[in-house]
Symmetry: C2
Subunit: 310 residues, 2 copies
């Protein structure tokens, strides 16, 4: 639904309401009349789609509802400062559930300096719905967009990818500090957070930047959970296929000049690790597909932008 | 649930995350690191609780989801500038429903200069949930709080009250421009928007301001719909009782010096009308209840803070 609907919405909106729609970035950038800019994002999570109360502890659900938004601001190298939490609770046990959700939200908010600035709490005869809006501001290095990648840039990712269903999808650490550090200590051209898998999210960055990309398959950092997941499921996917398209990694995907990327990969200043997984190329060079996979033997094939579609 | 839960939350939050919680105002006021302030509020509306798709047109539901937030910012004399819309749609017909909701949202957003700055669109096998976050900034006259009323202030309301279930609960005009005009052209001490009825909301303003209040019952502006509603329901409530506690009026409740109030009521500069309905008194003067009703014959009785509890 989302893509088709957003296209409709974009065409339907008057021009002056369209500019800051943030359709192509992880959060919207808003200009204040008194100067200064605010970055804002919202995510709504629902029982049965994003979590199962019968299986996932409410604390982890609450934590995740804030964490996915923190990850969106990290993607733009923005500094989060306040969150609003809207809940619709099942009537039975709703109050206890609300407390448990906040037992997951509060420590994460505190860790990232986010004030809980308000919200709305409702009950109904239906399943849990939780929606978090996160506000941030931008540093002097400005917000990082998806559209800024340049041909020749290195494709850099933080952490390791794949197998998030084994727990990482709830327990991931949003890369807010990492993004701010990198924005201050290197030249970043573009960024997003890997929510739907490297293949699909890289394709999105290429679309926004009007570029192609080549991924060196042997360089993709594969998590241990991707290997475990590949060993346990029978669809024949290898660990690296999981790393390419499982989604919910919530790591950073960055475009930066190769010199900066190589320096950082040599120095490894971040505990989560930094890896160059390929390079951006001009779109005209990609004959029958925007993004390519290059195997260890040098052979090249289109990389299908397949991932976790929310 | 809400009040007890918010009390728990207030105690649970670390001190530095507690200040801007906005528990006692209609929206949170956030200080930006680069200077300037942002006002933010969120409301989540759900099928079966706030509306019935079988009965209420989706355009009206979408409009209302934004309008209640506009009313919250009006209560603080803040200037709205951007909204984020999060939806969870029933799987069947979700896309068509989303478009209809936005056909109600877009004209209202345009009218009030609100950019649609992003959102989140999901589907599930459940009923419609719509959550709107609205951001605003404050003028040089600052945000209006609930807590600023002073003993001797006039109690002033815009428009007419009661009977909102006959249509006003969807079609009301948020008093954004009225609030900004009044903030610029008179001395306002406190404000809120009447969402739960004059009796309950006045009691809340008295609580926040540590005051009592006396309402002159004969002066309460009763809407035609309150009279119609009283004629149609058999609970014995008079039109003025409906005006006191039906809720969802979304008019402004203001505290201002009596001289300003009298001047405004004589001049009637606003199309919606302004009425003085009583005065704030010191809390110690209210022996067995914070708020009082005074009838046309001068007799006085406690005014029960009963209203529409969301």
């Amino acid at each position: 639904v989302e893509l088709e609907f957003l296209q409709w919405l974009r065409n339907r909106l008057p021009l002056d309401m369209r500019a800051p729609l943030g359709l192509s970035d992880d959060a919207a950038i808003l200009q204040l009349s008194g100067g200064g800019r605010v970055v804002a994002t919202v995510d709504m999570l629902t029982e049965g789609v994003d979590f199962l109360l019968a299986q996932d502890r409410p604390q982890r659900i609450g934590r995740k509802a804030l964490a996915v938004n923190l990850s969106d601001l990290a993607a733009m190298a923005a500094r989060p400062f306040a969150a609003l939490v809207a809940l619709t609770l099942p009537r039975k046990g709703g109050m206890e559930l609300a407390k448990q959700l906040f037992e997951g939200i509060i420590p994460l908010a505190e860790e990232f300096g986010v004030a809980l600035a308000g919200g709305d709490t409702n009950t109904w005869d239906g399943p849990l719905v939780i929606s978090v809006t996160l506000l941030g501001d931008v540093t002097e290095h400005g917000p990082l967009l998806r559209s800024g990648a340049k041909a020749g840039d290195a494709i850099v990712v933080t952490g390791k990818l794949g197998g998030s269903r084994l727990g990482h999808q709830f327990d991931f650490r949003p890369r807010v500090r990492e993004a701010l550090w990198l924005a201050e200590n290197s030249e970043l051209h573009a960024g997003l957070d890997l929510s739907d898998g490297l293949a699909l999210d890289l394709w999105r960055m290429c679309q926004a930047s009007n570029l192609g990309a080549i991924v060196e398959i042997a360089r993709v950092p594969v998590s241990e959970d991707a290997a475990k997941w590949a060993a346990n499921v029978v669809d024949g996917s290898t660990p690296v296929e999981h790393a390419l398209s499982d989604g919910e990694d919530f790591e950073l995907l960055l475009a930066m000049p190769p010199r900066d990327a190589e320096r950082l990969v040599n120095e490894q200043p971040l505990a989560c690790g930094l890896t160059i997984v390929g390079e951006f190329v001009s779109a005209s060079g990609a004959e029958d597909g925007r993004i390519w996979r290059r195997e260890a033997d040098g052979s090249r094939a289109p990389l299908v932008p397949r991932g976790y579609e929310h």
